[in-house]
């Protein structure tokens, strides 16, 4: 569904992604693990067109999206839940969600967008009561749910999640991971999960990749990653 071929991405002159390739099949949950600074978030930015790669190819559903504008990419069905949530704090929960539907919102399909509201509130019943509240006043877990809900408002076929567990209590992380699994089973959303919390992420995944300084150093089905001695030592703390 999403195929990344030998991409090279730069921050200024700094080469961050060094000929990176990976693919995600329809309906999969794929986890990408790696230490700080290994290029995980850079990869997501490259996919979203926020930091287009200088070389290589990104193909989504047989369409070359390497150099498309972010708005087009969102419209094609890729959505990002950014690292650190990045909700719009001074805006209401409702306006945050509406901004998620920005790329397809128009006067004509207003009712369609409104229907999506209910879909999001079904998934995150927590947010219903707070829809008029300012997003900045939500708790960390609620903000993460809002960030996910906001991304879902664009009706993505593939959802990119950048460290959804960051800074949250374990019990809330479990809840969020349960929602992610539910998304796949009920909405058939394909998911690319970037996580430092490797064990929990691998638990709900089909496959995994290990990223080290801009290169994929290991890939395989979940079981292979969980049993690999090197990965166990470096990422699973065993």
């Amino acid at each position: 569904m999403l195929r990344i071929q030998n991409i090279r991405s730069f921050y200024g002159n700094l080469l961050v992604l060094k000929n990176l390739s990976l693919h995600i099949n329809e309906g999969e949950i794929v986890t990408l693990i790696g230490a700080n600074g290994s290029g995980k978030s850079t990869l997501l930015k490259s996919i979203m067109g926020l930091l287009p790669p200088r070389q290589g190819l990104i193909v989504f559903q047989d369409k070359d999206i390497t150099h498309l504008r972010t708005e087009k990419i969102v419209r094609l069905g890729i959505a990002l839940v950014p690292e650190g949530r990045h909700i719009f704090a001074p805006l209401s929960v409702q306006d945050n969600l509406l901004l998620g539907s920005y790329s397809r919102y128009s006067f004509r399909n207003k009712s369609e967008v409104m229907a999506d509201f209910d879909r999001i509130f079904d998934l995150f019943p927590h947010l219903v009561k707070k829809r008029k509240q300012l997003a900045g006043t939500l708790s960390g877990g609620e903000q993460q749910m809002l960030a996910i809900g906001r991304a879902l408002m664009s009706r993505p076929r593939i959802l990119l999640l950048d460290e959804p567990s960051m800074g949250l209590a374990p019990i809330i992380v479990e809840d969020i991971f349960a929602k992610i699994t539910k998304l796949r089973s009920e909405e058939k959303t394909t998911i690319l999960l970037v996580e430092q919390n490797a064990e929990m992420a691998l638990d709900i995944s089909d496959r995994g990749y290990v990223l080290e300084t801009g290169k994929i150093v290991f890939q395989g089905p979940r079981e292979d990653l969980l049993e690999n001695a090197e990965i166990k030592r470096a990422y699973l703390g065993k």
């Binding site: 708005e71 950014p82 909700i87 719009f88 704090a89 001074p90 805006l91 901004l99």
Partner: protein, 326 residues
């Protein structure tokens, strides 16, 4: 469902504007209100840029001046119709705003402030130095700027100027309210709140920032044209750096993130010096003290303050918007 009702406050405001001349009979005071209207046009645009999109401009008096000079020169020297000159002024301003905004809005914070400040100075020097075109430091004296004619009425008296300026303001206000409460307004606020996340949602932030910069320039240019036909004399002085700072102050004192605040700020900063006249030598002192008081105790400006008061009266917890927006 999504739209907070924008028409009720608008209708109330419309009534106030229509009825005000019945209570303000003195032509001098009516003239002050005309100026409030002209400046409100500028601050409304600036409020879109500052309060909504979160960008600063310390050069907005330049756009104001460009509208005024375009009207003066095109009607005076070139004998164009005032309406045509007004449109041309807005077009010229839009082009300049695009040309200046495209590179400078890539800057953020203080750097953007410096860039727009520099732009304002350059335009002011242009007004001063192009003596053959603008009349230089002594102002445009080549011809008297004509009165503007609306359908069959010549806008000459204070009363007609009042209705003319505020009529235009009301139209622009309605347009602005619609912008704010639309997808565009949401996108602007998202840029202010978190530019990176806005981009991830597919909001073309660069385009929006330049777009709103141009729009606010057009508002200022329109106000400048109205100013030229009302005062009927233009000189470089009222379009300098101090004026730009005054405009920004109006927006902040009125309350950022609210169009009503922009009007309130313009009204306060124009009416206050007039109201304090009887203190004579001390008026600047008291003026400064009042502004300081507002900034210290009402960080959300006049609008934020009144909103806070309203919430206190209605006792709704958890919606202290001004604390976040201020």
């Amino acid at each position: 469902m999504m739209k907070r009702n924008i028409y009720i406050p608008y209708a109330v405001f419309l009534m106030i504007v229509l009825l005000a001349p019945m209570f303000v009979k003195n032509p001098y005071y009516l003239g002050v209100l005309v100026q409030v209207g002209i400046f409100s046009l500028v601050t409304m645009g600036l409020s879109l840029l500052m309060g909504y999109a979160g960008q600063i401009s310390l050069g907005h008096a330049a756009f104001f001046g460009m509208g005024a000079y375009a009207s003066a020169i095109l009607t005076g020297t070139c004998h164009w119709s005032p309406w045509l000159a007004m449109g041309a002024g807005m077009l010229i301003t839009a082009c300049v705003a695009w040309f200046v905004g495209t590179p400078s809005l890539k800057l953020k914070g203080h750097y953007l402030a410096m860039a727009t400040l520099g732009f304002g100075l350059i335009v002011n020097i242009f007004f001063l130095a192009e003596v053959d075109l603008t009349g230089g430091p002594s102002g445009y004296t080549f011809a008297r700027i004509p009165h503007i004619t609306f359908i069959k009425w010549t806008i000459k008296s204070e009363t007609s100027s009042y209705y003319f300026v505020w009529g235009i303001l009301l139209v622009i206000l309605l347009l602005t309210l619609h912008i704010i409460h639309s997808r565009v307004g949401r996108a602007l606020r998202s840029i202010h709140a978190d530019e990176e996340a806005a981009r991830a949602m597919g909001v073309n932030t660069a385009q929006y920032k330049v777009g709103i910069f141009i729009l606010s320039g057009i508002y200022a240019s329109l106000a400048g044209s109205l100013y030229a036909h009302y005062i009927r004399f233009v000189a470089p002085d009222p379009f300098g750096l101090m004026e730009s700072v005054l405009l920004v102050t109006m927006v902040i004192v009125g309350g950022m993130g609210s169009i009503w605040g922009a009007i309130a700020g313009a009204a306060l900063l124009i009416i206050l010096p007039e109201a304090l006249r009887f203190f004579q030598d001390y008026n600047i002192l008291i003026y400064g003290a009042i502004l300081l008081f507002i900034m210290l105790f009402l960080p959300g400006g006049i609008f934020g303050g009144s909103q806070m008061l309203w919430l206190l009266i209605r006792k709704i917890p958890g919606r202290r918007q001004e604390a976040k927006d201020g």
